[in-house]
């Protein structure tokens, strides 16, 4: 059992998804909810066990079907990938817990789809093979297509159609890139590719460059980098918020793939192709931050605002990935975890606020007050402080760290003012949104708040216990990430060091079982 541990974070969600489709769980809603939450907790625990094992024994390599490395497909569990699978599993728990309060009944097959999405995301994080990465991308995409349509209306269909078409074109480009790279390198195992890329000569160098840059297009599409980010605000704002909260991890899959491909395969040891994507990525990342900040300022409702915050965080992460030093990568890892959790928390809050404000929903205008201002207001201010990056929460640590790690980079004189101005824009927009939503109420007469909703309706709209639990898991993570910043940053530095340790990576993966 223990030697198959590495494959469990991938297999378990898949089996959970299948189990949830089977008759006993498929028929009975409360049983389905119970099984779904239990299995997501089990997936999380397994991911944590794997994380601890990786910390104790070093990187784990699992050859599927016992076909050893360059010939078969391997799963590679190193500190970075196990951290991200644990994060995904945690987000999965939050998502199924929150949806169990009623959102899952808006359409069929919510729970199996969430587990299939986790299956795809975890697979993409753990795989060590580029073609397998494509397969897992498709798995997570098809689950996301269906989740996007969950409980949707007209606007939703349009956004979903555009999202699906964009991603199908992306998949075609991905396959062409893989075909080019396979034709040149003769392998798609990432470690093996990294080894062969440095030995290329003549025209093959340019072919590999074409392949590598086509991959960049795909990852930029998944990660929503500037020219390809247009699908994101509409998609995230029209999906039901809990699905959008789960999608917070999906852009990070694109960023993670960039991290892997451009640090391992086209990194320091790639000969002529070393750091080939750096110039492209850096400027695109900066432009993405600017576009995201403009979008945040222009947003009319909370969900659009949060979707634009996702774009800002993607730009920041890609900028850090581009710097390609251990410090920058470790800052990126910390920031990635922080931004995923905070964005998810904000999406959940937007849902709760929108539900309690009646017709105005989550639009940032004067409207009816929320019925639980203390609870929602406190959670909102914690999440807002974290996402803006003010002390003392996790966003501040992430921000200081990422600024410090880029100080020696040649273009830091552009990055610093730009990033700080973008933070200022975020601060302005988020505080404006918060004060409008919580403090500006519709008044009929001077000073008297109108509230013509019936008491039963208000009771119905109150935060359910399951929803509160899901929200608190995410909200509490912000202070916890700053209280335990010491061990967490050590872990991030360790993960980044291993990510950049070229020879060690290749030796471990290609020699089979450790």
């Amino acid at each position: 059992m223990i030697q198959h541990l590495t494959s469990l974070p991938v297999l378990l969600p898949m089996l959970a998804g299948i189990l949830l489709l089977m008759p006993p769980c498929g028929k009975n809603q409360s049983l389905r909810r119970f099984v779904s939450v239990t299995l997501s907790v089990v997936t999380f625990l397994i991911s944590i066990v794997l994380l601890l094992k990786v910390q104790a024994d070093g990187t784990q390599v699992y050859a599927i079907g016992d076909w050893s490395a360059p010939f078969g497909i391997v799963l590679v569990a190193d500190p970075l990938s196990t951290l991200l699978t644990s994060l995904t599993a945690l987000l999965g728990i939050v998502c199924v817990l929150y949806a169990s309060a009623g959102d899952d009944a808006k359409g069929s097959f919510f729970h199996p789809l969430v587990h299939f999405l986790i299956f795809g995301v975890n697979g993409a994080f753990l795989t060590g093979d580029a073609f397998n990465l494509f397969v897992f991308f498709e798995v997570l995409l098809i689950a996301s297509y269906a989740l996007l349509m969950h409980g949707g209306d007209k606007k939703n269909t349009r956004a979903a159609l555009q999202y699906v078409i964009m991603n199908l074109v992306g998949s075609a480009v991905f396959l062409i890139a893989l075909g080019v790279l396979y034709g040149v390198l003769g392998t798609l195992n990432m470690a093996d590719m990294a080894q062969k890329v440095g030995l290329l000569q003549g025209d093959d160098v340019y072919l590999a460059k074409i392949g590598g840059l086509l991959l960049l297009v795909v990852f930029a599409l998944k990660g929503a980098l500037l020219p390809l980010h247009l699908w994101l605000p509409n998609t995230y704002a029209t999906a039901i918020p809990i699905v959008a909260a789960l999608f917070a991890i999906m852009t990070k899959v694109g960023v993670y793939s960039m991290m892997r491909v451009y640090t391992l395969i086209f990194g320091d040891d790639a000969g002529e192709l070393a750091h080939m994507a750096q110039d492209w990525l850096w400027w695109l990342a900066l432009a993405t931050i600017v576009m995201g900040a403009v979008g945040v300022l222009a947003s009319q409702d909370l969900r659009k605002l949060i979707a634009n915050l996702v774009i800002v965080s993607v730009g920041t992460l890609v900028a850090l990935v581009t710097v390609q030093t251990v410090e920058a990568s470790s800052a990126a890892i910390y920031y990635l975890v922080h931004s995923t959790l905070v964005t998810a928390a904000l999406f959940i809050l937007a849902d709760l606020i929108g539900r309690q404000r009646g017709k105005v929903a989550d639009r940032i205008t004067v409207g009816t007050p929320v019925s639980q201002p203390k609870l929602l207001g406190t959670c909102f201010i914690i999440a807002a402080v974290a996402v803006i990056g003010m002390p003392p929460l996790s966003g501040f640590i992430g921000k200081v760290w990422l600024l410090k790690s880029t100080v020696n980079y040649e273009y830091s004189f552009i990055f610093w003012p730009l990033y700080l101005l973008a933070s200022l824009a975020v601060l302005f927009a988020v505080s404006k949104a918060g004060s409008t939503v919580f403090w500006h109420h519709q008044t009929k007469f001077e000073g008297k708040v109108t509230d013509n909703r019936s008491p039963e309706r208000i009771q119905q709209e109150r935060v359910q216990p399951a929803e509160l639990a899901a929200l608190l898991i995410l909200i509490v993570s912000a202070p916890l990430m700053s209280i335990f910043a010491g061990p967490l940053s050590e872990y991030a530095i360790d993960a980044a060091t291993q990510l950049h340790d070229f020879n060690n990576n290749i030796n471990i993966i290609l020699s089979g079982d450790q």
């Binding site: 397969v135 098809i142 269909t157 349009r158 078409i165 199908l168 074109v169 998949s171």
Partner: protein
């Protein structure tokens, strides 16, 4: 053979791209299908084109690379599922939005005519 093969991939891609850029869902779906055919052919050729060579060792003196064929098989299966999904989605979009435009609305100059 290489020229013919490359030309057919190229023609398929250009037709596919042209169709994807149309504004109605049906041509877009057709374009996606053409693009995926082109991709499948392209992937197949990444193991080099050869005549009379089996993919199983020992059945002929020369043998072809079996891996691209496995890739193509996977890509076909995935592409088939995705096409089925996008067709259903397009039909639902037609029902929900009242027209078959990707943007969900008929451009104004067309309404006037």
């Amino acid at each position: 053979m290489e020229l013919l093969y490359a030309a057919s991939v190229g023609i398929l891609v250009s037709c596919g791209v042209f169709l994807i850029l149309r504004s109605r869902t049906f041509p877009v779906v057709l374009g996606l299908t053409m693009l995926s055919y082109a991709v499948n052919l392209f992937l197949f050729s990444s193991g080099r084109l050869s005549l009379n060579s089996a993919v199983v060792l020992g059945h002929s003196s020369e043998y072809a690379d079996p891996l691209p064929q496995a890739f193509v098989l996977t890509a076909i299966v995935i592409g088939f599922a995705m096409t089925a999904f996008v067709v259903i989605l397009a039909i639902r979009g037609r029902a929900d939005l009242g027209n078959d435009h990707v943007n969900g609305q008929v451009p104004e100059n067309k309404v006037k005519r």
